[in-house]
Subunit: 728 residues, 2 copies
């Protein structure tokens, strides 16, 4: 697979299908762009008419080309593309970019043509598109139709985006900030090669160190998720996700399904993969700049050095609001700084105010040395130092430094970074933004480039700087992330799968009854209050005696889902007489209230001891598939939607974190003298349920409600499983 | 008061104290700045030595000046300032800027000097500062020491900021965006003139239409709050608040006090005043630009017109995530657009994709006309139209428009805005940010200025545009905000105040008992379960009979606060025998468990019927004073901190909104078949409690827990009041 995708980026030979004699045709423009960009391979023009374009003979068909072709670029009208693609297949071309639009994005007819393309693709030719700009790859010498002038320098960042226009826009913006690309793919409708394919390829690609993307959605969400998780902490994965679609609540039959409405599965995605979630173009570029300068990520403890007091609090606010830290100085560092700085007009705590935006060079160097030497400092952030000559001139007039002094000032952060091998970050605002101030901005960009070349990221304000640092700190912490559960091995599948298959074969009801649910659950090692089916009062007494009083009795009928509502449940039955009476009352009540219901009998189970009531459930997200839910029981939690979701399969870390994510977590720890419940057991329980869900894809929704948790262990008291309609 | 503050901005005569012969002295530099800026009044230099500076005779003292002086600028060392200020007082100078630093910000000695300044000020001279830059006011011809080159154009924006450096920084940044100022005050330590004074002055100031501020804290929070609330919807109040300090939880004796920890009183401030909360310099400037162009605010319903498809979803995301709306097009508008636009390559829904970043002029005009004519459109936001010639040239090469066509394109949004009198907003990104792209940015700024001059705000991206629009939409909606409760009149103070005064005179215990609390509450019309004190079993039976069974009995002892814990409470007592037995058991239990407690007796009250349990409480914020809290009862709410706070006094709207702010609000509306509780009654109840708190400032903290709410009415079942320690 990897090899086939490689053809898109580094083709030895290309056929441009739709290259007419007119230089305005997309085909001719595409050839021109490749020539301008310096493509080194062999190019062939193909069109239904014409003799020559840009010095290339125009062939009638790819089949006529007397050479092997690795990649085709197809820009003929949509209705001709299937024929062309079939030719490509026959010519043994491995990869085709379908530039043409008017497919699934354009209605029924287009959707059908796209299906046709796909069916040809599956016979042996990979498609990027349709409706895309295709690849840009400096090493391969290949570029967009509009990209003849793009940078020929190769870099370490990859970008994927459905939209060609946005790919262009992101690249354009990033170039200015110093970013260079290994590989870019505008992949359009993704009928064949999708986000997951590209992610997988780029994670293995030796040229790529940072993955960036603009995503409106993903086709193969589950695989995309799994690849992202597997690579957490290995290569930064930056995702600018727009249109955070919510899973539909309206159609949900289960409690879990309805709670999933209003919660985005992407939230679980980002938590589980530790991918960088960028909220805007700026945030994506900022993170990318950060990773370009600090490939290994960074820690969280910032020491802020400011050339002026006001605004330290701005930095501290911005730092803490994103989840970075600004710890106090060590007494050692504080002592050193006291020796360097005057007591008035400065502030010797973190944030440090050195009292002067153009400090004497030696002093500046010494301050930064003291800060960098501290093991309380993971990162040094510098603000309000006048690295700009023009700014110094505005603010200081005659006392402004000379150009030589200014360069020496610029060198200091670089020296410190190299000496101590600690990240240094600089905040360099656009101080003035008037038409007349444009030279200030020109100088600011030069200074930014100087620092970037020295692996020091520069940001225009505190908010953007700390957000970027947070994102790269998260990446470093994701380094040790486990991608599969180490407990998976211990969980035996048992006969659960077989039981469900058997049920599916015999039932016509998509809703499993409690007895069926618990039978399956038991096989996955889940502790349940085991129900026994009684078909007479005598059987009921016998069952109760064997499990010990008190017991609970419930009607078993495929037609009765809300059992309590019609008097079909009796709890706290303490002896034989109670059971006899309850059996009769349940049958009478159901016969009266649900006359048409088929009564299979009455289930009897031991009554669970009181404890903390929890809910564990499952629902399916349209993009990512099955997701587990965890929360506490009760109306309040439901109203407050205080639940956590994770995409299946869960890792031990997922189970651990989702329990702690709910705001009601302190209640599990034992609030106000209540005992702590068995959290470790609950983590295991979530993993067992995850396993069960994974092995039984026919399950559409599930509620285990309640699970009662104790100081030791927990037990599933009631459960409901709804199957996919197409399996029964 | 207003008149005195006016002296700071428009003084007819000024004395600069500390103006030595050296041109480097702050005094001389200050004179030079005023001269450069074109100050039209009379200037006098004062210093302890020297003859002349910049052509001005140097007087030894303000007392020697043979002329009336309205304003003094004092920049002598801190220790001399009290003497100088006394001279100013004697000279009948009305206002003094104390530029000098080294006061309360610098330790004990400075704090004492500042107190001395204040005591002089109170005799008849207002102080701005110390430790400040003072005023900048183009109409008054007065500027900062560093502001000789500031714009002489007067505008409609006022700014206040403690920090001089930040005042400079904000002004500098805003100038470039087209903002001009009426009045700016860097007010330093605010020993005399503080934020509330300046806000009050600027709200009345005819030159000022928009108030902006950078605040680290406020001195007279309660008054600042009241002035802000009174002016809601009249003039925009933009506050960039940093250091969102939280009220200390550690010291709180009440439940409410401990829940206030971790919640910022500023959150309540912004909710109650509808002031614009800016999170950064950019957000403040963006809102200011918005108000400059759209003085009346704007509605929420955006129609987005985009010259390209990708990115519409970016706009929709940004729009909805801040609370603006992008409603579907009306069928009428859709029909009109279908006639104008081709079916392919465009999208005729909101956001509208017109498919082309440089559309034909006539088409562009017609599209915008159709959109503007719709009553579904409050605001038109335009994105990805190439208003830049240079950008058109880059993207379109030979098809790029001529300069004349380009100007015609720029005129269209202006025409539409004027024709339809509807806000038009343009998103104009910095497409490329490289050193070599600087001319693009220069052109972008010119285009921005053109639109700004035509009252069309321009923003660099979707996120910033929609945040700014949200802020100005909020302002418009705050227009009808009530500033005092119209129900206030109905609430009679009654004897509540007298009762508390009496208690204070006789008690030495800052914690009032339940009987005392309820006595006061009753006087404010709050329904309570009224307790009667019984000093014997017989008295208890008599009391119970008079109120009707069942009853609750509780120990009354100043030493016993956690009554239940030691067996001091008995509930659900159904008859005479129960009461007799309970009386004895309570006394026995307390005597055993709290041998030293003084027992005043046992309280008896009717037992409230079951209902929905609520908590209403009060605590004091260091800046804003008393705040009311509302929430549901129970452990879960406590763990989840699902409570709402409001600064006292509450308006009807505050009461309404705080009840609806809690996430558990659906439970009040009657969840899952439960009856709805009497929400209107609860709103009244909050207003009554607000009144009680307002009238009794000695109350430090209060818990009314629980209040039990019913379908009709609600009753306070238990209450606890803690008094300020210095009043008993």
């Amino acid at each position: 697979m990897t090899k086939e995708i490689e053809y898109f980026f580094k083709p030895k030979s290309m056929a441009i299908v739709g290259a007419s004699e007119s230089l305005k045709s997309y085909g001719a423009r595409y050839i021109q762009a490749q020539l301008d960009f310096g493509y080194k391979g062999r190019l062939y023009a193909v069109n239904h008419n014409g003799e020559e374009v840009l010095g290339f003979r125009i062939y009638r068909s790819v089949l006529d080309i007397p050479d092997d072709i690795e990649l085709a670029f197809i820009c003929v009208p949509a209705r001709f593309t299937p024929g062309i693609l079939r030719d490509c297949l026959n010519k043994n071309i491995k990869a085709a970019i379908v530039f043409t639009a008017g497919f699934s994005e354009a209605g029924e007819e287009g959707r059908n043509m796209e299906k046709e393309l796909l069916s040809i693709a599956e016979q042996g030719v990979r498609i990027m598109g349709p409706n895309c700009f295709g690849p840009y790859c400096p090493k391969g010498g290949i570029t967009f139709v509009s990209g003849g002038g793009f940078s020929k320098q190769s870099g370490e960042t990859a970008l994927i985006a459905q939209s060609g226009q946005l790919s262009e826009g992101i690249i354009g913006r990033s170039f200015g900030e110093g970013i260079r690309y290994s590989k870019v793919a505008s992949y359009g409708n993704a009928c064949n090669i999708n986000e997951a394919d590209l992610l997988e390829y780029l994670m293995q690609d030796e040229d790529t160190r940072v993955f960036t993307s603009y995503l409106e959605g993903v086709r193969d969400g589950r695989r995309f998720f799994e690849i992202a998780r597997k690579n957490a902490g290995k290569k930064p994965i930056i995702i600018w996700k727009v249109g955070m679609t919510r899973t539909g609540a309206a159609a949900a039959a289960s409690h879990t399904g309805s709670l999933a409405g209003g919660i985005s599965a992407w939230d679980a995605f980002f938590r589980q993969t530790h991918a960088v979630k960028a909220g805007s173009l700026e945030e994506m570029v900022d993170a990318n700049v950060g990773f370009a300068c600090l490939p290994g990520g960074c820690g969280r403890r910032v020491t802020l050095v400011s050339g002026g007091g006001a605004g330290g609090v701005i930095g501290a606010d911005a730092c803490e609001s994103v989840g970075m830290q600004m710890p106090p100085l060590s007494s050692e560092t504080e002592k050193q700084l006291r020796e360097l700085l005057p007591a008035t007009g400065t502030s010797i705590k973190n944030p440090i105010d050195i009292g002067n935006p153009h400090p004497p060079l030696k002093l500046f160097q010494s301050i930064l040395e003291a800060v960098a030497a501290s093991d309380q400092t993971d990162i040094i952030v510098i603000r309000r130092i006048f690295f700009s000559l023009k700014l110094s001139a505005i603010f200081s007039g005659t006392t402004a430094p000379s150009p030589e002094e200014q360069q020496a000032l610029l060198d200091i952060p670089v020296n410190i970074k190299n000496m101590f091998n600690k990240p240094v970050v600089i905040i360099l605002p656009e101080e003035f933004t008037g038409v007349e101030d444009i030279e200030l901005e020109a100088e600011r960009r030069k200074i930014r480039d100087f620092f970037f070349a020295n692996k020091i990221p520069v940001y225009p304000n505190e908010q953007r700087a700390f957000k970027a640092l947070f994102n790269i700190a998260e990446f470093r912490e994701a380094g040790g992330l486990e991608t599969v559960s180490d407990k998976d091995k211990d969980i035996e599948a048992g006969r659960g799968r077989a039981i469900l298959s058997e049920i599916i074969e015999t039932t016509s009801n998509p809703v499993l009854d409690e007895i069926q649910c618990k039978e399956i659950m038991k096989e996955y090692g889940i502790d349940v209050t085991e129900p026994v089916l009684a078909k007479s009062g005598k059987e009921a007494i016998k069952a109760a005696a064997s499990m010990g009083y008190p017991v609970v009795m419930k009607i078993v009928s495929p037609q009765v889902t809300h059992k309590s509502d019609i008097g079909g449940v009796k709890v706290g039955l303490k002896d034989k007489n109670n059971v006899t009476k309850a059996y009769k009352e349940i049958l009478d009540a159901v016969k009266e209230k649900a006359a048409d219901a088929i009564i299979e009998g009455v289930s009897i189970q031991r009554m669970a001891a009181p404890g903390l009531e929890l809910v564990i459930g499952m629902t399916k997200d349209p993009q990512f598939g099955p997701m587990l839910m965890f929360g506490l029981g009760g109306t309040m939690i439901e109203v407050l939607k205080d639940v956590a979701f994770r995409i299946v399969p869960l890792t031990t870390m997922d189970a651990r974190e989702m329990i702690r994510q709910v705001k009601a977590y302190p209640l599990l720890k034992g609030y106000r003298g209540q005992p702590q419940v068995d959290i470790e057991y609950l983590e295991d329980l979530l993993l067992k349920i995850s396993k069960m869900i994974e092995e039984n894809p026919e399950i559409k929704e599930m509620d285990i409600n309640p699970v009662i948790a104790y100081e030791k262990g927990a037990v599933a008291v009631d459960a409901r499983i709804i199957l996919e309609e197409d399996v029964i």
